[in-house]
Amino acid sequence: MCTPNQIVVDIFSPFQEYINSEQDVREEIRKIMKDIEKPLREIITVLQVIHHEQNNGKMGEACMRARDIFEEVRQGYDALDKIVPPGQYYRYNDHWRFATQRLCFLAALIVFLEKGILINKETAAQILGVDNKCNIHLDLEDYLMGLLNLASELARYAVNAVTYGDYQKPLQISKFVAELNAGFRLLNLKNDSLRKRFDALKYDVKKIEEVVYDLSIRGLTQGSCPAEPTN
């Protein structure tokens, strides 16, 4: 017959130790995430300049500045790589999933502003500093979530670009988001959060198309950009 002591010693004490050590790891991770979330917010603020006024010089500056701040993010992920035990990325990834998605979005926005192309997963991982790490990596779904966030931001960008007289930008954005949309339609999404977020993409697409429609119906789409009359 089991004695009460035996049950506690054999069954519950090891479990309590297990919980305690897990809590310790989570505490360390939470500390690191604070160091990652601070530069994350700074980058968001810096990049808001795209909604203010058209000034390509300022935009380039903002991208440079954002890339500088990403250095802090990379240091944070470096520290995270040392804390997460091998093969347990998904045990703890609740802590950094949301921040990683936002950072993917920001990296994608920077690459779009600089080159006008869609960031691929490797580049995103490099900018975040999670490439070639032992214990952490960039989860595909986090990266895809970041791209969907990018589409929403670009829908807003298209509206504001028209406000300050850049009639070319919405066309570029429209083509870019249409390609992104076509890409997402190649994926077989399960009924999960990514699928729900993807379902909202069509509203962004619609918003951007409305902007393009408003421009084209007024003949503003070709060579009539007041900010750059030569174009």
Partner: protein
């Protein structure tokens, strides 16, 4: 599922809004965005397919474990030989689960981060622990610690080398909490056949486990506190049974006690169905 997926591919160019359609029609197969997404698509499919395969295996485990529990509940006869035979059969079927279904899950997880797929088989695993601990308890009046069970999930074969099923301690403790529900049911059943000493034994054992749960410090684990709550409810029923035996045991024949208790407020409510 595969059928709908086939349809999606056959549809060819994806359907988009009017303005965007032009863009998409101008995209050729070599478009870098589409090429990129084709690769991501196969990665996602691979993950989802593996997940679904594990869910299927886990469901098999779940059903078989429930059947084993049902089988074990039938040991109410006092014939020692029959009891032994039932436990042997249950043991055998539990072993079969370890060496078939769980081995298949472990093989799916080999080289993967097990935690990514843990949710797919956590239910089956907990149900299995419930059956296993129930069987162990009926056999030896005690249960094995986590490490012993974890060792049984280590596999080795020539083709794949050594590998192991990820068995978090949470699943063990949560399965253990479910197991106390079975003890409660057994307590009521044994009372029905008039086996009073067994009732006290079962009740005491659940008391020990409850003490263990009360001593845990696990902040923010909802699943754990929910199960601990159910455990306390089961225990309250059993304690009431023991109380009734003690106070009225001499008044009426033992096999009549069950009707007395059922007429008070102990209804052995099923928290889950059998298959």
């Amino acid at each position: 599922m595969s059928k709908s997926r086939g349809n999606r591919h056959r549809r060819g160019k994806p359907a988009v809004g009017d303005n965007a359609r032009e863009t998409v029609e101008n995209m050729d197969e070599q478009n870098p965005v589409l090429l990129m997404f084709k690769e991501y698509s196969s990665q996602l499919d691979d993950k989802h397919d593996r997940y679904e395969r594990i869910v299927k295996l886990s469901r098999d485990v779940n059903i078989e474990a429930k059947r084993i529990i049902f089988l074990l509940h039938n040991i109410n006869t006092d014939i020692e030989a029959k009891k032994k035979a039932v436990i042997e059969e249950a043991d055998c079927r539990l072993q079969a689960l370890v060496s078939n279904s769980f081995k298949a899950i472990a093989r799916e997880l080999k080289g993967q981060d097990g935690y990514q797929y843990h949710r797919a088989y956590s239910n089956g695993l907990q149900e299995f622990i419930e059956a296993l601990t129930f069987c162990q308890f009926l056999k030896d009046d005690s249960i094995e610690p986590w490490t012993a069970i974890n060792d049984s999930f280590k596999y080795h074969d020539d083709e794949h080398g050594g590998y192991q099923l990820l068995f978090p301690q949470y699943d063990f403790i949560l399965g253990l909490a479910d197991f106390t529900g079975e003890l409660m049911r057994r307590c009521i059943n044994t009372l029905g056949v008039g086996n009073v000493s067994e009732c006290f034994k079962l009740c005491n054992f659940v008391k020990y486990i409850n003490a263990g749960f009360l001593g845990l410090m696990a902040p923010g684990n909802k699943e754990l506190s929910r199960k601990a709550y159910v455990l306390r409810q089961s225990l309250a029923k059993m304690e009431l049974v023991c109380y009734n035996i003690q106070i009225r045991g001499s008044e009426i024949p033992k096999h009549m006690l069950i009707s007395v208790i059922e007429s008070t407020d102990v209804n052995a409510e099923e928290d889950e169905g059998y298959f």
